[in-house]
């Protein structure tokens, strides 16, 4: 326990002893996490947009004249079981007549003497899906029912939206990974400066019988402190920026930026700990080889 306390206090004292490298490491962690956090917020809000757009995706299914209402109900129940279908709404012939009247202000029976509007069904697709949504298999399944006369959907538009969204997600993920990898290297090189400055300490520790893990621990703990301070700064700046940005956006467009401060702090803190442990371990391990 005393040994742990010693290693912990050494890591903490090193922050003060190596002020310049500590500043560099904290600043690079802060920058990395601020960029990574911004990307995550953008990603999260883009996800909200795609969910909104997916909520608007509609497949309109028109049934043959000869199909009775009871059979339509049974077929629509089957539609609900198709993978990717969120909900269905049946529009009977009489519902269609009412819709016609509300939209055109005239009764179709007065115009043509009978109701030519077919019974139909609106199929809504799921909104929550991380990968690209392909609507075609759903359409093909619906078309395979003999009761179905025609299926209308915004195929090209949906394909474009989904393709762009997919590319966006891939680019954001690659960018995020790249930033994190770069930050590990930056932190590793910053810690190496500290290690060179502490060459005497490392040699002294090795001569008095310190194990590799004992030599490594204070540097890794120091790295974690850098990471935590960087994460706190990045969280604070991001939250302030997001609150201001959200207020401005709301006053202009009634849209707010969606994010959870606690989740953001949690993710940035975890990321900082992981990248600082990886960075400092890499640096000290290379030195001790």
């Amino acid at each position: 326990m005393d040994k742990m306390m010693f290693l912990f206090s050494e890591g903490l004292k090193n922050l003060w002893r190596h002020k310049l490298t500590a500043f560099t490491a904290i600043f690079s962690t802060f920058l990395t996490l601020a960029v990574a956090g911004s990307l995550m917020i953008v990603g999260q809000n883009t996800n909200k947009v795609i969910e909104y757009l997916r909520g608007k995706y509609k497949i309109e299914v028109f049934f043959k004249e000869s199909v009775p209402d009871k059979q339509i109900n049974a077929v629509v129940k089957e539609f609900n079981k198709i993978n990717g279908v969120r909900s269905t709404t049946i529009i009977s012939k009489s519902d269609a007549e009412k819709i016609f009247k509300s939209q055109f202000g005239e009764n179709i029976l007065d115009i043509v003497g009978y109701n030519p509007l077919p019974a139909s069904c609106v199929v809504n697709v799921v909104k929550f899906q991380s990968d690209k949504m392909n609507i075609l298999p759903i359409v093909e399944r619906i078309k395979s029912y003999p009761e179905v006369d025609e299926v209308l959907y915004q195929g090209r538009l949906i394909y474009r939206i989904e393709t762009y969204y997919q590319k966006f997600v891939q680019i954001m993920t690659a960018l995020l990974i790249l930033i994190l990898v770069i930050s590990v290297f930056i932190i590793s090189n910053t810690v190496r400066l500290t290690i060179f400055a502490k060459k005497e300490l490392i040699q002294a520790l090795q001569l008095i019988g310190a194990t590799r893990s004992f030599v490594k621990a204070p540097f890794v703990i120091e790295g974690v402190f850098h990471g935590l301070i960087g994460a706190m700064l990045a969280s604070a700046i991001l939250i302030i920026g997001l609150e201001i940005g959200s207020d401005i956006l709301y006053s202009v467009s009634k849209i707010t930026i969606q994010y959870s401060p606690l989740v953001l702090i949690g993710i940035l803190t975890s990321l900082s700990v992981v990248i600082s442990i990886l960075g400092s371990s890499r640096a000290i391990s290379r030195f001790l080889k």
Binding site: D2, A204, I208
Partner: protein, 217 residues
């Protein structure tokens, strides 16, 4: 016990030691004497296994250079206290913390560290200077601090490599007396020096090394 069996180590650019056969007992005080570059430091480095002999072997208690795994070397070094000409005290911590470092490494409790460090500071006559940083101590005081750091962990062996190299004759003699006191308490002391006048007539074993070979012991 330290035993070197036909131990040789040659540096890529030449020099080193060849075919060293030497045994040093558990409570022995031995001087390694020889001119600069004769191989004294190489011999000591082989004992604390900073260098592993390319031929032959070094055995220190249960540690055999031929069989030892790198992760076991720290455990050998915990049995050895080292004193160098250049002190190797850490500038960023005071005398107390410099000496305490050895005990932190072996996992002593806080109370035990305070007791043992205070005791060793008293033994080397540096009481009252616990809070001083190395730069605030004279050369002799720094070297005494090194001795305190070496024996605070109750080592079986103390290796001293030219510990008087930077000290005046009076301080040098005081330092040797201090090492003799440590030796009387049962710790083997091996001290390398190039200054024959300093060690002659003290009644200890003298091992002479020249051009990497032990000439007489």
């Amino acid at each position: 016990m330290i035993r070197l069996d036909n131990a040789s180590y040659n540096y890529p650019k030449g020099s080193g030691v060849s075919n060293i056969n030497l045994t040093i007992g558990n409570d022995e005080f031995a001087f390694i004497i020889g001119p600069t570059g004769s191989g004294k430091t190489t011999l000591l480095r082989m004992i604390y296994m900073d260098l592993l002999p390319q031929v032959g072997k070094v055995v220190v208690d249960e540690f055999d250079s031929k069989k030892i795994k790198p992760r076991k070397i720290p455990f050998l070094r915990r049995k050895i206290g080292m004193v160098f000409q250049e002190y190797h005290l850490l500038d960023d911590r005071n005398l107390f913390d410099n000496i305490a470092l050895s005990l932190h490494v072996i996992g002593c409790s806080k109370d035990e560290i305070v007791d043992r460090v205070t005791e060793s500071i008293e033994e080397v006559g540096l009481n009252g200077k616990e809070d001083r940083y190395p730069e605030e101590l004279s050369g002799g005081e720094q070297q005494r601090a090194c001795i305190a750091r070496a024996f605070v962990k109750n080592p079986d062996i103390i290796l001293a490599d030219e510990p008087t190299g930077n000290l005046d004759p009076v301080t040098s003699f005081e330092l040797i007396k201090l090492l003799e006191e440590v030796n009387r308490e049962g710790t083997a002391v091996i001290m390398a020096s190039h200054d024959y006048n300093l060690i002659k007539g003290r009644g200890h074993r003298i091992v002479e090394i020249q051009e990497g070979s032990v000439r007489q012991s």
